[in-house]
Amino acid sequence: MFSSSMLKSISKPGRYAGGEFGQIIKDPAAVDARVAFCFPDAYEIGMSNLGMRILYGVLNREENISCERVFAPWIDMEDKMREKKVLLCSHETGTPVKDFDFLAITVQYEMCYTNVLNVLELSGIPLRAENRDDSFPIVIGGGPCSYNPEPIADFFDLFDIGEGEEMLPEIVRLYAEMKKKGCTKHEFLLEAARTIEGVYVPGFYDVTYNGDGTVRAYTPKYEGVPAKVRKRIVKDLDTMYFPDKVVMPYIECVQDRIMLEVFRGCIRGCRFCQAGMIYRPVREKAPETLLKQAKCLYENTGYEEISLTSLSISDYTKLRELTDGLIEWTDEKKVSLSLPSLRIDSFSRELMEKVASVRSSSITFAPEAGTQRLRDVINNNVTEEDLMRSAGIAFSAGKEQVKLYFMDGLPTETNEDLEGIAHLAEETVEEFYRTPGHSRRAPTVTISVSCFVPKPFTPFQWEPQATMKELIEKNNYIGSCIKSRKVRYTHHDAKVSHIEAILALGDRKLSAALELARSEGFRFDAWDEFFDYDKWMAVFAEAGIDTAFYANRRKADDEILPWDVIDCGVTKEFLLRERNKAYAEKTTPSCREKCSGCGAACLGGKDICCPSAGNKGEDR
């Protein structure tokens, strides 16, 4: 427990104080297994994560399991902790993390890897799984990064691959049973790997490499351990556990609103998008379920905003039914709706009026690429006409600020595509003046450009990332193409994207570099103020890592990739097919128009748009 003198001497002590409405405190003596659930970033980031809200509830729902929250302490608190030799503790009961049975860490982005290691260190837990005896908690990883867990595999005992609502309680229940029988950690891990689908125990595989550094093979060390771990999904979202009670943070968080998850997956298949692939197949909740859940969440939270959080929300088949049903009571309660992921081609005046808060004068669209050719390559399926029509709707409703998201460094990209970004922005400005009834204020079109990062389990997983030099040139070139003074231009730091690519595409050899980074004091790399590119490159060099091998190399079609040990449903054949179609500048219809046989249908699910599993024999 942090003492009051510690809390009084740091910034934002509310991050550590606990005491929130809705937190669940159980008597440690009355449960069979205790889980410390960690979001390895600042409290206000972690408390905004829907996955954490769900898994906290799902574990605490089990009578004999308790789940408590842990976050990465901010640097001022870390300094105090190190100075006073205080170990990292849980929020609910102030129990040292190392006294729990499990430390479950949700790994949401690559740039938090050093925080993961710092959390272990501050908890007094040895970093490498092989150096931890049975007295330490079992360290579980999950979240999007677990689809290529290899760079951090050596630090974890187990990963749960896929959706955790069912899997995580199964794991903890198995542990509780085996603990009673006096089994060892090894026995438990082996049983979990053999019997629970989605469990990946990195220590149970021998990994060999070819002379050129590429993977030769992953071989299970024990019988019954799967050669490929298939991701778990929840089949029926309507009956799935949903957290009706939410821990209500007192301090301001990134997401201070109700997050209503409408469906999982995405029918679109943008070729750069990892989420669009790994969360397949699309499974929807029924509007009746959602309306009930929204009401219940409002009563239990009092939040003044409901955000419909799903990828590409306008693809929800019953969106109108849902929004109409919500508006029946939200208007009266002064609760506003927000749809963070509207597609350009589905934007309508009606939708905007339902969701737009009166105050916001700006609206965001994501054309992603500057020309139709490149938009076809990435399968974004949006046209310039769509954009102009949508912007026109926004302008005619009095808005004068539009934000446009793009990527640069995409496969096959040329200068023409970059010029297209400036062109689209300038056309949007023109559209403002073409729109009757536009605002009297001058328009601003902001373009925000991020650098393409090839991600595992996407059609672009074989692609090299543009080099740093190229990325910087591209960023500058876009800037030089913009003539209109009504266009504002911002771009992400190419340096961050480069490190992200290395970590996203890495294998187990990177763990040495991460260990080194940690020993050099790295943490909070997702925060601009702490990210230091030169130090990262120095660490890679010292660890003998050729960064270009991971980030800037075109991988052979038949190369064994580090994440091939994971089966996320979508097949490699499909991804290759998509990659080749990208080269041919051919688009692929959405899952709703026509199934493309990606392979995810084999995972099953209720109310999915896939033709019934097994129909697509060609892919399996």
Partner: protein, 233 residues
Amino acid sequence: MTDKIEYPMLPEPRTVRLRFKKTGALQYISHLDLQRSFIRILARAELPLWFTQGFNPHPKLVFALPLAIGTESVCELADIRIERDMPCDEILKRLGTASSGGLEFTDCYVPSAKFAEITGTEYTITLELGEDDAKAFSEKAFETLTSSPIVIRKRTKSGEKEVDISGMISRLRIDRKRGNVTINAVLSAGEGNTLNPENLLDALRAATGLPDAETEYSCMRLKMLCKDGAEFR
């Protein structure tokens, strides 16, 4: 919904005063964060709030005196405005189920006095100094806080400035029990004239070096007072 009774509309919105404690973990929540959280508590309690009219309707919520981070209180007051005739005990009951341990609602009534009438606040500050330091400290503390002038640097809206706080402290009492020193005092309050326990501790730090970074201490606001010395309601 907790209750389906429709309370009748009031001809005019009614101001209702809430009294609450802010203790334990809640002492680390800033005034701004408390305000935001309050709105959600009021919504969870499903009180028939009156909303301001206009572009951005919001409920009316006014606090008596902001409380600094690190100070607990058993006497906080806030006014809200309701549009339906919900009885005060019902409001109190609902708030009870909508809030957590460190934030406890203790009273609810229709006020007759205005917050501007508050002129002082009674605090108690407890310092865990250990037997060795306690005696010398308590003597020195009394001497310091009864001298004049007592000059500290105080943050104001227009930057830091030096102020004499000697006239802002009254009814001072310092007790010592083993290693713990308790300072009880009424500090002036009100627009532009508010003294916080931390200001007092600053004066003591300057004079005695204590409390330092290692000292465990707590501050508690006990009462808000009117000019005549009676408790403000």
